[in-house]
Structure formats: C-alpha cells, structure tokens
Symmetry: C2
Amino acid sequence: MMQELDLSSVYRLLEPGPVVLLTTAHHERANVMTLSWHMMVDFVPPLVACVVSQNDFSFAALRATKECVIALPDSGLAPTVVAVGNASGRDIDKFAAFGLTPMAASQVAAPLVAECFANLECRVIDTRLVPRFNLFVLEVVRAWRDPTRSNPKTIHHHGHGSFVIDGESLRLESKMP
Amino acid sequence: MMQELDLSSVYRLLEPGPVVLLTTAHHERANVMTLSWHMMVDFVPPLVACVVSQNDFSFAALRATKECVIALPDSGLAPTVVAVGNASGRDIDKFAAFGLTPMAASQVAAPLVAECFANLECRVIDTRLVPRFNLFVLEVVRAWRDPTRSNPKTIHHHGHGSFVIDGESLRLESKMP
C-alpha cells in the first residue's frame, strides 16, 4: 500500500545512507539495480546525487531516459537486494527472477517496487559530472510510502557482502532539519 | 592511535552513510562541522562527493583551500557531533568548546580529529557543481584508522535530531566489492 509522501520528508529516508534499489525503463523493458552510492543534495525540492557505473546495464537507460525510481527495501529484503546486485539486466528480467513486483509510477516510466516501503520518482536534472564520474543529479518529483510500515529497518553496506542493520534509536536536540 | 589505512579500504567506511565530521583550516584557524550529505564516487583512488552549504562557515574555507579532513566518530561521540552541528565556527573555536583534539595531518593543512576512529585527508578535485549545488568532489589522499577500535558503531541521521545506531551485522554472498 503506497500513500503519497510529502517531498519535504524525502531527505529523512536517504540521509541515513541505506542500500536502495534503482529502477529504470528503457525500450519497454524495466530493470532494477542495487545502489549504495547516493546522497542528498537539497531538501525541497529534494535533490539527490548518485553514481551509476558505466558498467551497469542501468547506466544507458538512466542516461537516455533521464528517469528512474529509487526504492527503499527493509532488512527483510536483504537477500533479494544482494541477488539483484549480483545479476545484470543484460541477462535476465530481475523483477521476475527475484520476485519483485513493478508498479506503475505517476511521473516517470520507471516502475515503483511494490515490496519496498518507500518509492521516489526521479528525473535527472544535471549530467555535467557523468562523463568524468558517472555522477547524476536527480530531482525527486513524487514520493510514496507505505504508512502501515512505521519503523522499517534498513541495511547499510560495509563492503564484500557485509551489511549492518539499523539498531537502536537516539534522540538529541539538534538545530539541523 | 592512528595507523595508515590502505586507500582501497576507504569506501568501506563511507559507503554505509554514517554521520561524519569535516575539518578545514583557513587563515590559521581550524574548524569542524557535522556532515551527513556525502557519498563514495570511486574506489581507488577513493573519490567522495559531499554537499557543504554556502551557509556553513566551512564553505569558504573548503572552496579557498581545497583541502579538508573527513573524520569518523563512533556512537559514543554522538552528543559531541550534534553540539558541533548546532554551533558555528564563525562564533567559537569548536575544537576547544567541545573537547575535540586537532592533530596534524600529513598531506593537508586541515587537522585530523584524535577522538575519531578514522580520518581521511582530502583534496577538492572538482568544483563544477559548487555554484549550482554546493557539491564538491574530493580525492582521499591519505587515510588513518585506529586499529585498537575494531568494530566501532556509527550513527545515521534521520532528521530533526533522530539518529539510528548501527545494529547487528549480516553477511551475504555479494559479488560487489
């Protein structure tokens, strides 16, 4: 179940640095990859930078269509997230192969991922650092969240298949947003 | 105690998305800020992108000197990290005010932070996205780690002073580095 999420809350999903999925659609074919190299760039409208390697099958789709969805998996999806990262869309339909359900997005052709607790529809707005660094700047144009999943735990990649799951929370008086 | 860390291991520190400290030195004055908007851009040499707002006192120092240190605090330093984030180097010497110890770096004028479990000496290598996004691309030129602290837990910011501390680890067979 996906409910619209106010764009001003998007940074709270990505700033913690979770492993995410990134979907594209190109030549009538959807694909999904695993991504850890992303960061927030601005709050509202939410801007996000990410690095998608030229070696990734998604690179050509992202560059050509300038659209993608960033989907947030919780820790229960960790084996699926790793399987997605180990395979290439050149060879297989990863949605079918790994039991992920593509759902139509509203603003972009790339699909949402039904199993994820949040989905961010994105458009590429700056490609100046693509030739040198494979770095894309995205604007999140619409965001969705499953309101029935209130405190999902995400995973963080420490390299070589070693992940850390979110632990306890800590509240401190911060002036930061 | 800081021992040199091989540059090929740097991504394992930043890819999980922890809250870090960023130090600069400008006009013979060191400063330190709190940073969550960073990501890896390449493995070796390790390249890192970060967003340092024009409103931050560190912005002018980073732009002028093109040098900084990214220091990794563990969860025990969380109150200090938040205090650093709530204050500005315009007004005070944050190292003295918050009990952080600057240590000389080897390649850059910005100081290491003795209390942190790892320190990354960085040089700015691309500023094309600074005017539009305040986005700097850095190269890590030397890295240090305290070998006596084997499994430090980091903190991740979820907005408005809400942090999540690293929880349990998970190992999965990944083909990714």
